[in-house]
């Protein structure tokens, strides 16, 4: 049958993917880029529905049913999710993509001709897709559970490193064994599937919740690779290129995130944060100074320059709107108000940007790490709202600290620092923060939203 027209249309959708991703990486064109990529996907799906096939009975009813159900659930979930729960949502979506790659490979094996040796590229690709799709599926679900909070970090497997390495080697060896058999044993494929699913769980479980962004990004690239492998199985170019684009972008994003924390990917996976070390601050006589909202209000009102360092606590307390209101009031008083955004603040790179954008904070007020640090010396008051590890001086001073070497916001350079925090508990890295005991530091305990509301009232009255 004549397929060249369809193949050409596939090429068009590949081009739309590439242009879309390119446009997604620049602020002015990003929204348009997303639509371009979506159009590419729409075209690719239409072509795959029309593409002339040799055998099979099309089963359009099943196809339409699956598409409607999936599109309906996906659209509703995307509309309803709170902006703060975005990382969890992305992780969940990603896991479902992985599950699809897993199902495809499973069916491919189910349909594999009997008594045919498996030592060939097609079987190898299918097995690889099954492996990577399964990891992406269960791994993303664990990442989702950790971010949602129903899987605690304290849930630790015994000797996770040993378990993971042994399991990985076992899976690879078992996969190799399956491929050398004279014919396919479907039961063995199911065992392989089960092992891969378990590996996805044991791979992500020991990694701390604070590192989930890196893991989600990595699993995202896994799903991309899974899609590309499925593309090889079906000899389908759009799946191959689309999948590889995601695989490459996910890998780059993962590396960028690790660089922002000054850690290697291996260090994140093996779990650098899980090992305790460095100054814990315990056993020393340390005095914490508390700030009162009324004093702080006056200080803020007469400051020239105020900088906010937002962290995950801001997202949890949903305090982005209050902080913006405080900003507006102080701006009217002539205060120069800005936000210092650490690359890994929150649970995902750009998490804080999205959050503050939701509260209508103007773009130019968000300073990136280096710019913010340049401004720090001339800043009168720094408000650290629900951030901890990203302002921990141990990253600079204490080589034994697990976060040593991570670039931080130098809030200690400012004339005074006020930390808004619920308690003295540690951040995700689980280490004490010497900043809280610093000479220029004061603490304002309580829920970030409640504290900011009180602060706002006091500023209004002052």
């Amino acid at each position: 049958m004549e397929t060249s027209l369809y193949d050409f249309a596939y090429l068009v959708s590949i081009v739309l993917f590439i242009v879309g991703l390119k446009r997604l990486s620049s602020p002015d064109t990003a929204r348009n880029g997303n639509l371009v990529a979506a159009a590419g996907m729409g075209l690719a799906i239409i072509i795959s529905l029309l593409y002339p096939l040799d055998g099979g009975s099309n089963n359009y009813g099943w196809v339409a049913g699956g598409m409607l159900v999936g599109a309906g659930i996906g659209y509703t979930a995307a509309r309803r999710v709170k902006m703060t729960a975005m990382p969890e949502m992305v992780s969940l979506f990603n896991g479902l993509g992985g599950a699809c790659a897993m199902m495809i490979s499973l069916v491919e094996f189910y349909n594999y001709p009997a008594n045919t040796p498996l030592l060939n590229g097609a079987a190898f690709t299918t097995l690889f897709a099954l492996f990577i799709g399964s990891i992406s599926f269960t791994g993303s679900l664990v990442a989702y559970g950790k971010l949602e909070g129903f899987l605690r970090d304290s849930l630790v497997l015994p000797a996770p490193k040993v378990v993971n390495i042994v399991l990985l080697i076992a899976i690879l060896a078992f996969g190799g064994y399956i491929l050398t058999l004279p014919g396919l044993d479907f039961t063995l494929v199911l065992v392989f599937l089960a092992l891969s699913l378990i590996y996805g769980i044991t791979f992500v479980t020991p990694i701390g919740g604070g590192d989930m962004p890196v893991v989600i990004s990595l699993l995202n690239s896994f799903t991309g690779i899974g899609a590309a492998l499925a593309g090889l199985i079906y000899n389908n170019q759009v799946m191959l290129v689309g999948g590889i684009l995601v695989g490459a972008s996910g890998t780059i994003l993962t590396v960028l995130m690790c660089q922002a924390m000054n850690r290697s990917l291996l260090n994140v996976i093996i779990g650098g944060f899980s090992s305790k070390g460095g100054v814990t601050g315990e056993g020393r006589e340390e005095i914490v100074k508390e700030a009162t909202p009324s004093d702080l209000a006056i200080e803020l009102k007469y400051a020239n320059k105020v900088m906010v360092v937002p962290g995950y606590g801001l997202a949890v307390a949903q305090a982005q709107h209050v902080v913006h209101e405080l900003e507006s009031i102080l701006e009217e008083e002539g205060v120069n108000f800005s936000y210092a955004i650490h690359p890994v603040a929150g649970r995902m790179p750009g998490h804080m940007n999205v959050l503050l954008a939701e509260a209508d904070v103007p773009y130019p007020k968000l300073l990136e790490l280096e710019d913010a640090n340049k401004e720090m010396v001339s800043t009168d008051v720094v408000l650290v709202i629900g951030a901890n590890d990203v302002v921990n001086p141990a990253a600079k001073e204490d080589p034994a600290s697990p976060i040593y070497g991570m670039p931080i916001l130098d809030v200690e350079q400012a004339k005074s620092v006020v930390v808004l925090k619920r308690s003295m508990s540690t951040g995700y890295a689980g280490i004490q923060n010497q900043l809280f005991f610093g000479e220029r530091t004061r603490m304002l305990f309580g829920d970030a939203k409640a504290s900011l509301n009180r602060l706002k009232e006091e500023v209004d009255q002052a």
């Binding site: 990486s25 929204r31 997303n34 699956g66 902006m83 992305v90 191959l240 689309g242």
Partner: protein
């Protein structure tokens, strides 16, 4: 080993595309401001839902009474469509907020 080599030579064009696409993906994405990391990740995640095409082709090739394959394929399509539609919709929501910002600024 022979099987692998013959697979590569039979699919030489696909292997070429694969290698070029790796370089292309890295070039397209390497320069991204931090602000866009989350939307980009979300958008790329939606693109990875392209795996839905595999599930569509799989169902279309199946015979009408092969219920196991049809059920698995149906599930695959539904899950991947959640990824695709949800992914693009979430990304659009994120970027919508950025755009509003720009207008006012």
């Amino acid at each position: 080993m022979e099987g692998i080599i013959s697979f590569i030579s039979e699919n030489l064009l696909m292997v070429y595309i694969l290698v070029f696409a790796i370089f292309l993906g890295m070039e397209v994405i390497s320069k991204v401001p931090t602000v866009l990391h989350t939307p980009l990740m979300s958008g790329a995640n939606a693109v990875s839902g392209v795996v839905v095409i595999g599930a569509i082709l799989l169902i279309r090739q199946a015979s009408a009474d092969d219920y196991l394959v049809l059920t698995l394929g149906f599930l695959g399509i539904a899950l991947a469509m959640i990824n695709v539609v949800g992914g693009y919709a979430v990304t659009d929501r994120m970027l919508d907020m950025f755009k509003k910002k720009k207008r006012k600024a």
